[in-house]
């Protein structure tokens, strides 16, 4: 009894000393800027879920979140406003916030910024991203085992290199377990036109594909079209998409930023923040494969998990040569692999993918 009282009193004393030793408010305020809605079942929700995990790990952190902020001057204003409210760490959670974040960061060198996917940094700006091809390769394996028509369709916003790399990795994974699989790609040309996504998904299903994948902001529309027409679906971005396809769900890849965001907040509180360019993947738990749906055959699960361990151990690579593109040109020589740090240069679609890369 008295011993625990002593323990409590000494704890309070330690806290008091720590508090007096550090004049700044130990509580941290962070500002989070989102491009869209935090419950889109996609990109934005993944960031918001990460923030929620951080908040759970560090209840002393206060969070200001603003949704639907346009890239550009609006984003700058929102960030500055957050800083005036006392935020000392800003999550600029969209690719297009890079320039606004850099400008605000120059103005406020004491405030720290983190940006997903950025290619430029400042002493107070860290960039981070999760490399997705390994995860797409594993999804491709699961889909390759599940498809009955050996045709898979992908609805993709734009033919930019990172998306082409994901589709390529997917096809390579599918072919690794089922050499007959072809992947058809349709580009909608936009991130926000759900109507066009539905029409594209239907056009692919009419071509005989029985698995649909999607690389747009929110997978909800395409996943629902697949379910409605008794096809299978693979998701992207957030684990929330699964509920839209209870029958046809195969798997999905989701960004799980929680531990990384906790790390950022802790670094700022402890004064150990330094500017870094962090590239993680499945093994760093920046990415998670969604649970497999009921349609996935039992033997697929083992194959996928084995390859996942090989990726983590560096014993396998999603772009292991020899690789040809879908016009027959050799792109990666035998014995070499396309480096995952060079994905911005991948402007071709691999053999087995039906589609035009530009």
């Amino acid at each position: 009894m008295s011993r625990s009282l002593v323990a409590i009193l000494s704890t309070i004393a330690v806290i008091a000393v720590a508090a007096t030793g550090e004049p700044a408010d130990p509580k941290l305020k962070v500002g989070v800027v989102h491009l869209g809605s935090v419950n889109d079942g996609g990109y934005n929700q993944a960031h918001a879920d990460g923030i929620a995990v951080m908040k759970k790990n560090l209840p002393e952190v206060e969070v200001i979140q603003v949704e639907n902020v346009a890239e550009g001057a609006d984003a700058e204003r929102v960030m500055e406003n957050m800083i005036r409210q006392g935020a000392r760490l800003i999550f600029a959670a969209s690719f297009g916030y890079l320039e606004p974040a850099l400008r605000v960061a120059q103005k406020y060198p004491d405030v720290k910024f983190v940006h997903p996917g950025g290619y430029k940094r400042l002493p107070n700006v860290t960039t981070y991203w999760a490399s997705t091809p390994e995860a797409f390769y594993l999804m491709g394996m699961a889909a390759g085992k599940t498809t009955k028509t050996n045709k898979i369709g992908y609805v993709v916003a734009l033919p930019i290199s990172f998306f082409l790399a994901n589709v390529n990795a997917f096809e390579l994974g599918a072919r690794a377990v089922n050499p007959k699989v072809e992947t058809r790609v349709v580009f909608t040309g936009t991130f926000l036109d759900r109507g066009k996504e539905a029409t594209a998904a239907n056009a692919l299903l009419d071509q005989g594909v029985d698995v649909l994948g999607v690389i747009v902001d929110s997978p909800i529309t395409v996943v629902q079209v697949a379910e409605k027409r008794n096809a299978y679906a693979v998701g992207f971005h957030s684990l929330a998409a699964q509920k839209f396809a209870p029958k046809g769900w195969i798997t999905g890849v989701a960004f799980t930023w929680g531990n990384l965001y906790t790390r950022f907040a802790r670094q700022v509180m402890e004064g150990t923040f330094k500017s870094e360019n962090i590239l993680g993947s499945l093994k760093d738990d920046f990415l998670t494969l969604a649970p497999f749906g009921p349609a996935v055959p039992a033997d697929a699960v083992g194959v996928v998990n084995t390859r996942k361990d090989e990726f983590a151990a560096g014993k396998a690579h999603p772009f292991q040569g020899p690789l040809r593109d879908n016009k027959g040109v050799e792109r990666v020589k035998a014995g070499e692999a396309f480096p995952l740090t060079d994905l911005a240069k991948m402007d071709w679609l691999v053999e087995g993918v039906i589609g035009q890369p530009r």
């Binding site: 809605s37 071509q207 530009r358």
Partner: protein, 286 residues
């Protein structure tokens, strides 16, 4: 071949139906002499209201009615400003558009990512669209109300001299246009996308304004225009799905190129069909 045609047609109908409702909305508005560039906003308010109603009631018919009424009421804001306050139609329309974008995003913020049942397999809005165009054609051509609306659009002073109040008729026409705009939005959120996301109309309200000109203010030609445009979207996506070796960027221009081609070929002998007093405001008579 039959499968291809069926795929293209179903795609054309899927993409074209919201466009047709929106085009008919703008057409009625313009036949009454009012250009409404705010249609995009009206559609969005309809889309989000319908989605919210579907989420809470689970009933597609309730959702459609709610969407139509929301569109109609929202369009009355526009009607008040351009008719009673005599504000510039183009500027007011654009302001209404932005207002609709913001209002719908605000209304829908809790509903992003929500799950609804949506419209049934045999979609009543798809089946209803073409008959509705025929009905509007008949109303504008053969009924007293339709003829008076057209008279107001051609020459409100003459209509006034004949004992009609142009503003009352324009309010009525704009309310009907709002109903149809709301239904256009609802078809998008309940029938096509089955989800709500901000600015999901993605410019369809403006395409509808162009389609009215394309259809030369005729409801039956609007059917052709909406299906042609929807069909071109469906065709380009379907060409990609079939692996046609043309750049997706060029294919994405197809609907617009096709529209330009039809306009270029279709011009010539036809008389100019725009309502005579389109865009002007009836100021009353001295």
């Amino acid at each position: 071949m039959a499968a291809l045609v069926r795929s293209l047609l179903s795609g054309a109908v899927l993409s074209g139906t919201p466009l047709l409702y929106a085009t008919l909305a703008e057409l009625i508005s313009e036949r009454a002499g009012v250009v409404n560039l705010g249609l995009e906003g009206v559609m969005l308010v309809g889309a989000v209201s319908g989605f919210i109603a579907a989420f809470h009631t689970g009933s597609a018919s309730v959702a459609i009615v709610v969407a139509a009424l929301a569109g109609g009421v929202f369009n009355m804001v526009f009607a008040y400003l351009v008719l009673a306050r005599r504000a510039n139609q183009l500027a007011t329309g654009l302001a209404l558009m932005f207002c609709g974008v913001g209002l719908s995003a605000l209304m829908g913020v809790r509903y992003v990512g929500s799950q609804i049942t949506g419209l049934p397999e045999h979609d009543p809005l798809v089946y209803g669209a073409v008959p509705l165009a025929g009905l509007i054609w008949w109303v504008l051509r053969s009924t007293r109300w339709g003829l008076t609306v057209r008279a107001v659009g051609e020459n409100p002073v003459a209509a006034f001299a004949a004992g009609r109040d142009p503003h009352v008729l324009q309010y009525q026409a704009l309310f009907v246009a709002g109903l149809l705009g709301g239904i256009a939005g609802a078809h998008l959120s309940l029938g096509v996308a089955r989800t709500w996301s901000e600015w999901m109309t993605a410019g369809r309200g403006f395409i509808a304004v162009a389609l009215v000109i394309f259809a030369r203010w005729h409801p039956l030609r609007a059917v052709g225009g909406a299906l042609l445009f929807g069909g071109a979207i469906s065709l380009q996506l379907s060409m990609q799905a079939r692996g046609v070796p043309i750049s997706p960027f060029i294919l994405d221009m197809l609907p617009y190129l096709l529209s330009l081609a039809v306009l270029a070929v279709g011009r010539g002998a036809h008389r100019h069909a725009a309502p005579g007093s389109l865009g002007r405001v009836f100021q009353g008579t001295p």
